[in-house]
Amino acid sequence: MMSAEEASWGSAWLQQLETHAGFDSTALARGSTATQKGRVSTVEFEPGLVRAEVAGTGEPEVVTIGVTSLEPSQWDRLVQRTTEAAAQAAALLAGELPIEFASALLPGKGQISSDCTCKGGDVLCRHAAAVLHQIGARLDIDPFALMLMRGRDRASVLASLRASRAELMGVEQLSVSGLPRGGDQGVSAADAWRREPEPPVVAPPAPRRPGTLPTLAVPPPAGSGIDDDDLAALVADGAARAQAMLAGNGESELGLSVGADVVRRAVTGDIDRISEITKVPIDELTGAAKAWQLGGHAGFKASRSSWEPEPNKLTVAVEAMGEAATARANIVTKGSVQLRLTEDGCWWRFVADDSLGWILDSGPSRDPAELIEPTAS
């Protein structure tokens, strides 16, 4: 993003702190040692302030760095200046922070304050110094954090820039889809009723593999609680179901219970994370997900539900399994193999697993004999 001629934002920031913002360089230096920086955690950026925790001898200290926000009029002027310089506007919209813009954002004397729970006195304590260095490191990665510190998030600045550039060009604002921003203007009802519609559309065939959300050009705003990866996982799951529906291979799965849907998502998702967040024990989730993988919702139900069919429904399975087979409710067991009957009349084979209990091992079959490998007779 930055060419070699420009200094790193981090060093520019620190430079600014020393020369213009009036921080004592010795005090600042104390925050620069690696150990100090390693102790800083949970750095949160918000409009006008940065909050962080620094590990100390006992409880972590909480450091708050306050930055004076730019006045709205100052922001307006800044945006306007950028609008008029095509190169700078282009850079900003391409995701880079032009020097001219950034210099206006770097805080000056009296615009930065620091506060720490360690009560280290008026001098800049080492905790606050460490946080200031961390901010520098962050700016190296994401210069737009500087914008946020001065009061506005990236998305809103870019929106203002687009609007003002559009005004400069004399263009009316449309909504993104190309449809009029004012909304549905409607059509003549009589004309609509008179028109003869074309035959129904034939959808294109399902793609070979489901698509994914593109990498977002603008990451979600900090503090919104929205994670790119979570959004992408959501879209991937929806795209996979849409592809299956289009191929005639599946349904929307919108009618599943919460528990069933958790299991369904555990089949392709990050099962450890899901177990952690939903608090479902990992063993239980793994077994259930295996069942879903083999037999879908029906397979999962087979692994869960127990019901009382008429005894004569089990005889065919008992015969298939041979001697020493025992029958209980809807389950016929022999050794480490089980046949279970679900209410739709399908049989499923389960095998015993040391850690996971009984896990589904086959797809459904109406004929239990098919699920058993016959012993040599």
């Binding site: 190169a87 850079a91 391409a94 998030d153 929106a159 550039r165 559009a166 060009m169 263009v171 993104v176 889809s177 190309g178 449809l179 909304g183 549905d184 203007q185 409607g186 059509v187 009802a189 009589a190 609509a192 009723w193 519609p197 559309v201 959808a203 294109p204 065939p205 070979r208 698509g211 959300l213 593109p214 603008v218 979600p220 609680g225 994670d227 959004l231 959501l234 879209v235 799951d237 929806g238 795209a239 179901r241 849409a242 529906m245 289009l246 191929a247 005639g248 919108l254 599943l256 919460v258 069933a260 849907d261 958790v262 998502r265 998702g269 939903t278 098919e370 699920l371 016959p374 007779s377």
Partner: protein
């Protein structure tokens, strides 16, 4: 959902709260007033009749009713009318509409919405969704960005909507919702609903955009706007490059500030890069930057509001990537740039990165060679013996290579080297510039894929291959772009391809000498077809109608070929096969591999082995160790489920050729067709998932004629189906085909039979005269009843399934007949058995009635009329074919469930169907239980032995038999 009703979309905010209202056009107010077909209203002298649709297929589910105001046709123009509609939320509607087949019954609005919903699914399946904030400030998803193809689809959706689909009123005089808005709203509603399954917000820390409950998120508006602007750019930057000395002298060029030459010199020595904007929706719309700066507002109306941003951002990225262009944005309104010859390299080196940034560099067309084409070349050496090797043998003799061409001329090795070594994206070759974009470079480097038998088959038949559909899933990476390539075949494989092309069903092949029957011409054609396929190392499916002689054709095939044949069939047909084999292969060795004492020891080189699906399941490994020349699967619908144990087991058995036999219309059930053909030639129709996606679903759900034709063409050489009604077949057939259907007894029947025989013979020995005759006849009746069904003998009403071999066989017969849309009549001597048959068949889902002596003439006539009108699948008759008025020519299948041992009487019964007015071949099935008295008597009748003369009139002759003759007749012969 009653999809025969009208379906109107009602948009809500957020989109996932939208719903579909279903209302009855003939009864909009929910009162039963209008009669079907009556015009609802007229407008300006013209009647707008709202469609009335046959409702026989509608299903009713409970959905809340609600008042819905719609603009409907009224006396003059339209008027806002209140209708009572059932309200279906998006979640229910999505599944119902997505699954609505084009051939199913439904209103036109239902069908057009089904199409729209499926297009929405196609968008979502591509990942074309973005988070958004609704007008009222709620979190939602929308379908975006849409490229030119997608925009065309949107227009097609819009044109397909009938008025009732979007008749919700909108402020303004007599206006309803704009269909374009409504289509986009439906897209968004589908996306917003589909992504939010019940646990979407529980499996991660994400709550907004995942939870079904709406959340106010106005603070996210700037962010989603940015996303939309960034991802939905409607235009892109194009840099048009012109080499030096090509520029017409008349055009004035503006040099860069640090280049102090005059314009002429510039043109001579510098490359000119002209900046342009191109519309993504309409690629023919390109505007020079110079024209853009003159009138930005006008241009942006065509290219979109963000066009200027796109231009600047694109130039910014270009200036960072290409050093010599670093200063391009120093001007307020950049138009073009100039580069020296040595500087153009800097541009050429970065074409990939520029493409990533959506900046395209174009070159003058005369200077640029067309894209490099590639072909797959498959060569095979000829077999040393000179004979055409089978397909399976060919696989190992093949070499597969890539061949590259420019302008239709093949690239030499040196040229290929130059291209492969080139590090930049545009390379001079043969006096032109050749573009080596990423796709081409990948293709130059990729190894030729490995081709299996089925790939070769496809290549042979179509001359091209889709790399993405190759059967060997693991292979060299496909690279980008087009995956369909032309294939050139050389050598033996090319000859094989020619053979396949000329493979027809016309060649007559006579059965070899010594075969126990003369084949009819159509059977000779079937034999020729099978023989040709087998000699090519392939296989196929013979799907002739019941009664046309599939068995005899297959046995003739076995007789023709050297080597062992394995025939797999259902247990109940084993004996049929055995008898036919003995009849037609008098000199051949036949073995039944079934039962506890079965063995494969000492197999002869040309032996025919008969076995069952059950045995194959258990002994597949043992069977796989034998070298089989031919394997046949009878009633191949048994392996229609590719995952079943039977299907998997039978695949373990290798053979040079495989033939599947079935009487069901297998071309109508596509997954069954796939399973059967995939067994005959593995991989011939590609993987199941691909087949389902590209062929089965479009045909079955969308009624796609092209896909259907394509399938037919692909499958034609491997599927042969003749019907009794075919013009070529019918004249060859005898009008009446008679066959014996020999079935086994169940264990229960065997026990009863043996016990009865033992007990009665003892009694008979002791008796004399009339008493004896009485006992013998009683024995006879009992045995007949046991052979029919234990329930009949024991006086029970049930259970019926799986207790009688006859009943099971007849059940299957009726099933096959019904699938072929044929009607059946079943004769039985016993009313009791008749009603058991009716019970059994009714439970199996057929429409069946019984006609018997106890009914009035009027009642009987009604049944006959119903049957003749094809309203009954099966008619059971338990009377002695009385009355010539009984005309049942609708039946093409006649079943004698139990027999009068009197040919004349039987023929009379058969003649209810086989008589004047019958224009189709009638197949008569005589059901006989194996090893029982029925079997013996049938043998007698067939062989016309001495006893046959005495079998006339009634069964009384049996009473005349001596003890030992009687014993011989009734004792059960166990096979």
């Amino acid at each position: 959902m009653e999809l025969v009703k009208n379906v109107t979309f009602v948009a809500e905010d957020p989109p996932r709260s939208s719903w579909f209202g279903l209302w009855d056009p003939l009864n909009p107010g929910g009162l039963l007033s209008a009669a079907p077909g009556e015009p609802v209203a007229s407008t300006g002298g013209e009647n707008i009749v709202v469609e009335s649709v046959d409702r026989s297929e509608s299903k009713v589910e409970n959905a809340p009713r609600t008042q819905l105001s719609l603009a409907l046709p009224a006396k003059r123009g339209t008027a806002v009318t209140g209708v009572v509609a059932e309200r279906y939320e998006m979640a229910t509607a999505i599944d119902a509409l997505a699954q609505l087949c084009r051939t199913s019954v439904g209103s036109r609005s239902a069908h057009s919405w089904a199409g729209v919903v499926r297009v929405a699914l196609a968008m979502i399946a591509q990942g074309r969704v973005l988070p958004w904030v609704s007008p009222q400030g709620y979190d939602c998803w929308r379908v975006d960005p849409l490229g030119p193809n997608e925009l065309n689809l949107v227009q097609a959706c819009v044109s397909s909507l009938p008025a009732e689909a979007h008749a919700t009123p909108v402020p303004g005089r007599h206006k309803i919702a704009d269909p374009e808005f409504v289509v986009r709203a439906v897209f968004d509603a589908v996306a917003d609903t589909l992504l939010r399954t019940s646990a979407a917000h529980r499996v991660s820390r994400l709550s907004v955009f995942a939870d079904r409950r709406p959340t106010r998120v106005r603070h996210l508006a700037p962010w989603v706007n940015e996303l939309a602007a960034a991802h939905c750019a409607e235009a892109k930057l194009v840099i048009r490059a012109e080499p030096p000395a090509d520029r017409p002298a008349s055009q004035q060029a503006q040099p860069n500030s640090d280049k102090t030459c005059d314009s002429g010199e510039l043109a001579d020595h510098y490359w000119n890069l002209r900046f342009q904007l191109q519309s993504k929706a309409d690629p023919s719309l390109i505007v020079d930057a110079a024209d853009f700066w003159k009138a930005p507002a006008v241009v942006m109306e065509r290219l979109g509001q963000q066009a200027e941003i796109t231009l600047l951002a694109g130039l910014r990225r270009t200036s960072l990537l290409v050093r010599p262009l670093a200063a391009v944005l120093d001007e307020e309104m950049p138009v073009e740039a100039w580069l020296r010859e040595d500087e153009i390299d800097a541009l050429l080196d970065k074409l990939d990165e520029l493409a990533d940034a959506d900046v395209e560099v174009r070159w003058p067309s005369e200077l640029v060679a067309p894209r490099i084409e590639r072909k797959l070349v498959v060569t095979s050496e000829s077999a040393p013996t000179g004979a055409l090797p089978g397909l399976l043998d060919l696989e190992s003799l093949l070499t597969v290579d890539w061949e590259f061409l420019i302008d239709g001329v093949e690239l030499t090795t040196e040229e290929l080297e130059v291209l492969s070594d080139a590090k930049r994206a545009v390379v001079p070759l043969r006096g032109k510039w050749v573009q080596l974009d990423r796709q081409t470079r990948e293709q130059l480097k990729s190894k030729a894929p490995h081709l299996t038998t089925s790939d070769l088959l496809r290549a042979a038949r179509e001359g091209s291959l889709d790399l993405a559909a190759l059967t060997s899933a693991s292979g060299p990476p496909l690279g980008l772009g087009e995956t369909k390539v032309d294939v050139r075949l050389e050598g033996a494989i090319a000859e094989l391809a020619k053979c396949l092309e000329t493979l027809t069903e016309e060649r007559l092949q006579m059965a070899p000498p010594g075969f126990g029957a003369e084949l009819r011409p159509y059977q000779q054609r079937g034999l020729g077809w099978m023989a040709d396929l087998c000699s090519l190392g392939l296989g196929g499916c013979l799907a002739d109608d019941m009664g046309l002689g599939k068995t005899v054709q297959l046995l003739a095939l076995h007789a023709m070929r050297p080597g062992r044949t394995l025939v797999v069939c259902p247990t109940s047909l084993l004996n049929n096969w055995s008898r036919e084999a003995e009849r037609f292969l008098p000199d051949g060795s036949v073995r039944i591999f079934h039962g506890d004492r079965r063995s494969l020891a000492n197999l002869e080189d040309t032996e025919l082995v008969l076995t069952t699906y059950g045995v194959v399941r258990g002994d597949a490994d043992q069977l796989a160790e034998i070298e089989w020349d031919l394997t046949a699967a009878d009633e191949a619908q048994f392996i229609k489920n590719p995952n079943s144990h039977s299907a998997r087991a039978i695949r373990k058995i290798p053979a040079r050729a495989r033939i599947a036999l079935t009487g069901t219309p297998v071309e109508n059930r596509l997954s069954e067709l796939w399973a059967i053909l995939d067994w005959t030639v593995p991989g011939i129709l590609g993987p199941l998932a691909t087949f389902k996606r590209q062929t089965a679903t479009p045909i079955e759900r969308d009624d796609d004629r092209n896909a259907a034709q394509e399938l037919h063409r692909l499958v034609k050489p491997f599927l042969l189906r003749r019907r009794k009604t075919d013009p070529g077949i019918a004249p060859e057939l005898p009008p009446k085909i008679e066959r014996d259907l020999v079935v086994p007894l169940t264990a229960e029947q065997v026990t009863l039979y043996k016990a009865t025989v033992e007990h009665s013979l003892a009694e008979v020995k002791q008796a004399e005269g009339i008493a004896r005759r009485g006992l013998v006849l009683k024995l006879l009746t009992s045995l007949k009843q046991i052979a029919n069904h234990p329930a009949q003998f024991l006086g029970e009403a049930g259970p019926l399934p799986e207790r009688s071999g006859k009943l099971e066989a007849v059940g299957r017969l009726v099933e096959t007949a019904e699938q072929n849309r044929e009607s059946t009549i079943i004769f039985t001597q016993y009313v009791k058995m008749g009603s058991l048959l009716v019970d059994f068949l009714t439970t199996s889902g057929y429409s069946v009635e019984m006609l018997h002596g106890g009914q009035s003439v009027k009642a009987r006539q009604e049944l006959v009329d119903r049957f003749q009108a094809k309203n009954l699948d099966v008619l059971v008759l338990s009377l002695k074919a009385g009355g010539t008025g009984l005309n049942l020519t609708a039946a093409t299948n006649v079943v004698h469930y139990d027999r009068w041992w009197n040919p004349a009487v039987e023929d009379q019964a058969t003649d209810r169907a086989y008589r004047i007015g019958q224009d189709q071949t009638v197949t008569v099935h005589r059901v006989i239980t194996e090893g029982t008295i029925e079997d013996r008597v049938a043998e007698l009748l067939n062989n016309k032995r001495a006893l046959a003369d005495r079998v006339v009139g009634s069964d009384a002759w049996i009473g005349e038999l001596a003890d030992d003759e009687l014993a011989e007749l009734v004792t059960l012969e166990v096979g």
